[in-house]
Every structure is written in C-alpha cells, then in structure tokens.
Symmetry: C2
Subunit: 156 residues, 2 copies
Amino acid sequence: MNAARTETTFSDSAVKGVRLYQMRTIIDSTRGNLTVGEFGGELPFVPRRFFLTYQIPERTTRGEHAHLKCEQFLVCVRGSCAVSVDDGLHRDEFILDRPMVGVYVPPMVWAAEHQHSWDSTLMVFASDPYDPADYISDYAEFTRLVRRADAPTTPA
Amino acid sequence: MNAARTETTFSDSAVKGVRLYQMRTIIDSTRGNLTVGEFGGELPFVPRRFFLTYQIPERTTRGEHAHLKCEQFLVCVRGSCAVSVDDGLHRDEFILDRPMVGVYVPPMVWAAEHQHSWDSTLMVFASDPYDPADYISDYAEFTRLVRRADAPTTPA
C-alpha cells in the first residue's frame, strides 16, 4: 500500500466568509499525487474564469482590491506566496505553499498577494467573467462601503 | 512600456476535435505575468471539476483512457510533460511546458500524459463531476466504440 487519501475540509477565518481549504488529495509514491476539487459541491462556486500569475518580481504586491459580487478561490500551484484578507473589521493572512491548499475569498473582502517566492505561480478561479465595474480598488472607498452595509437602518 | 499582451488563439490537431490553445497573456516585467481564460467563451466549456497531478515518478504514464461525455482542458503549470491524443484514426502529441498553453480534449479521444519533468504539475479542468461510468479504460474497447460510431448505418 503506497497511497494515502485525505478528504476536503475547511476552516473559517476571522475575516467574514473567508475559508481555508485542504482539498481532497491522494498521495501515491508509485503513481504520483492527485489533488481534486468539484466546483459547486465541495468547492463553493462554479468558475467562469481562471487566471495564473507568475514570474512576479520580488517585493511586488498584487491584488489590493475587493469585488462587489465576484467570488474567488486561490491556489498556489508552484512555490509560495502570502494572501492577506480584510473585511474592514478583521484581518488574516495565509501562507500558500502547496497545491492542496486553497483560500476562498467572498465578495466585499479586500485581498492582496505578496511575499511571492521566485518560482511562485498562483492560480485563481473567479465566479464571474471579467468586469471592471465589479472592482473596488480604493481602500477608503472599500471601508466606506463596509460601514454603510453594516450601519443600522434608521426609519425614514 | 514594460508590458506585452497576446490574445487567445488556438490551432486544430489532426486528432478529431483536439485543439492546442495559446491563452491570453500579459507579460509585464514590473508587475509579473498573467495568463487568463474565460470558460464557456474563449475556452470551450465551464468546468465542474479540476485536478492537479504532481510529484509524478519518472517514466510514469497517467491518463490512458477516453471519456464518453466529459471534456477536458490540460495546462502544465509547472515543469513540463507530454500529452498524446488518439481518436482511433490519427495520433498527435504535444509538449506542455508553459502556463499559457492548454490542450482541449473532447469526448471519445484517448489521452495519456507522460515524460513528466521531476517538477511537473499538470492542471486539468473537466466539464463534469467525477463519474467512473464515463471512463473507457480499455484501448480495444475504445477502438471498437470508435469503429461502431463511424460505421455507415445500414437499412434494418
């Protein structure tokens, strides 16, 4: 017996809706390793888009925006990077350094990727096609929108 | 100007329905590189599943099956590997060694992955959830099904 199998699990972050996933993996010294995820089942949405970022210069930060509607799922498929997330109230940070780990980032969470290793390749699944109107790229605007969403409604 | 941009293009293979894609890529020496694909638009289907294979021992061949219905799209996100495809009539082979290259494999095409570099990581998108009944894992059975599908219909 050369194979071990783990099932998909996740843990919640202090940041609203963010989850750290350990994806279903078969470790097999004879055949090689396999990590798998089914979209819209064990993973939270069916992607309409993916992108890969790679050959990121040292000390470059990518991301630094939130989305109004788009959901994202990040997997570092080569090397390592850090992902920081912020819902305007709490912050958290994850080191992604293996293919079976993924971070789910819901809408209205500010995210940034940094500390890329020289060989880092990050794969991102997105729930929606590209839409520049869905981006919040100004942090002050982000916190203003978060405060407005969290404000108690007052009678007219 | 440190950035160059290419759009998504593909070329047809001699093997029925197989296509080799060069995906939309921004090469940017300041910010890093980005390869992107929109599913169901520039890429041919919306995936319901993905998997990654990695740490494949030398001289190991993976795949070696066809699908009755499931479509697949293969991208080597680290290192390199070879993908061979066969529709029962023609064969073709591709070396995948960069993140912007993908191979679309339609149903009823026999595919195998081999010549994995020591650091090879292959990402596969699949159009359907896992279904063992969708696999054709016996090559003689595959060619029999291909011949039957290609046979002229005779009057009853």
